[in-house]
């Protein structure tokens, strides 16, 4: 019987990451993002379906490759569920390798621009903790990218 409990506990621990992944699915649609986005909806912007909420660890780096169509206005909103920590991110044209935008010390980001030609961009994100973290301080959280376009 003891073994059965142990197995259940074990199974549960291994599913935690999966649960987080599910919890983050709608992070980019929470008030943190929507409060900023709302005024833009009246201006004709809609949500671009490459917007995503994904699980993210403190201190983690991520690379996301997405497609931006030419002749369109875009607004990118980037944020995490962590408090008092900074996000370092840059947006790079995949083909030319030119850096389009770069932010080093933001808690959250908003970028507004008109994109002339269809291109792939790589968003490189890195969470910067204010100090070196121990293993037990590394916690799961969420990263959200809300993209509006018109």
């Amino acid at each position: 019987m003891k073994q059965a409990y142990f197995i259940i506990a074990f199974l549960f621990l291994f599913r935690i990451t999966g649960i987080y992944a599910q919890e983050c699915r709608h992070f980019h649609k929470t008030d943190v993002f929507m409060d900023i986005a709302k005024p833009y909806f009246d201006d004709g912007y809609i949500i671009y379906n490459q917007s995503k909420g994904i699980s993210f660890l403190k201190g983690e780096s991520k690379k996301i490759n997405l497609v931006l169509y030419g002749g369109k206005d875009y607004i990118l909103l980037i944020n995490t569920s962590f408090e008092k920590s900074k996000l370092e991110y840059s947006i790079i044209d995949e083909r030319t390798r030119q850096e389009i935008f770069s932010h080093k010390e933001s808690i959250a980001g908003k970028i507004e621009f008109f994109n002339e030609s269809t291109r792939k961009v790589i968003i490189e994100l890195k969470h910067k903790a204010d100090r070196k973290l121990n293993a037990n301080e590394v916690k799961d959280g969420c990263l959200g990218i809300l993209i509006l376009w018109k």
Binding site: E60, N65, R95, I100, E116, T118, A135
Partner: protein
């Protein structure tokens, strides 16, 4: 002894499951930086079929509704590959008819989409009951537009969280092929519809990301076969010569930042004819599965 073996087997099973769940993840500890930092391989995002259709439609071609896939409720789809590809095809057709404001046709396509979703055990946000309610609604086309927009986003979220990226890959491929097929065959003249040809050419970027995503699941036999099937289309897109834009990367007109530079892609007339023939072959292949 038996209980011990059983226990070890369970642990191995759970470990294996957790490895599959974190596909593509690598662990990296950077010296002098944050302990336990994780690094992921690049994640590829690609536009939904609705967005592909939206962008293509802005090039002002006249949709030929005869090109949309005929609905045959008696048709049986023999396996998940056939179901997934056809789900992609019908999702795109739904996007086209909704934009064409053909309510009756849209409801029929929605029925097929839901039928294929249930065959594939995909529980979408909108159910058959929702559709029944929509039919009695005054703003049918608005509701259909909403469902059509949300469907693919729903597929992505549900199938990814269920680790069924193989199904998602096939749905995406079916939907892209249908969007390109219907648009290119609706255009009967290269010069008169040059903007549409340009728009289809620039879809190369979206298609590449879709393929990069699918490529991550090529260990699956069905996915590997499909990638083989579309290899000629990939080649056609690769052969389009990029034209460099001369504008500056960043400039400011009025208060808005303009991101310029980059490249654009334009198929030649011969390339466009080859492209159309290949799309026709692929659509036929997918329908006959």
């Amino acid at each position: 002894m038996y209980r011990k073996t059983y226990f070890i087997f369970i642990i191995l099973l759970v470990l294996l499951q957790s490895c599959i769940h974190k596909k593509g993840e690598t662990i990296r500890v950077e010296e002098g930086q944050i302990n336990n930092s994780r690094s992921f391989e690049t994640e590829y995002f690609f536009p939904s079929p609705n967005e592909v259709v939206d962008v293509l439609e802005q090039s002002n071609f006249n949709l030929n509704p005869d090109l949309l896939t005929e609905i045959d409720f008696k048709k049986t789809y023999i396996n998940n590959q056939a179901k997934s590809l056809n789900l992609g095809i019908f999702t795109t057709d739904l996007a086209f008819v909704v934009r064409n404001k053909d309510t009756q046709k849209a409801l029929q396509y929605l029925d097929v989409v839901f039928y294929l979703c249930s065959e594939l055990n995909i529980s979408t946000i909108a159910t058959i009951e929702t559709v029944e309610r929509i039919k009695n609604n005054m703003n049918v086309i608005d509701s259909l537009q909403f469902i059509s927009n949300e469907l693919f986003v729903d597929f992505i979220e549900i199938l990814k969280s269920d680790n069924r990226e193989d199904i998602l890959s096939m749905v995406a491929l079916g939907s892209y092929i249908e969007a390109f097929y219907v648009t290119s065959y609706s255009v009967n003249n290269y010069i008169d519809y040059f903007e549409t040809v340009k728009s289809l050419s620039n879809q190369k970027i979206a298609f590449e990301n879709c393929i990069s995503f699918i490529d991550g699941y090529k260990e699956d036999e069905n996915i590997a076969t499909l990638l083989g099937n579309v290899s000629y289309l990939i080649e056609i897109y690769e052969e389009i010569q990029p034209i460099k834009n001369t504008s500056r990367l960043i400039s400011n007109r009025t208060e808005k930042t303009i991101v310029g530079g980059g490249y654009q892609y334009i198929m030649s007339e011969d390339q466009f004819e080859t492209y159309k023939l290949e799309l026709s072959r692929l659509k036929q292949l997918f329908l006959e599965l």
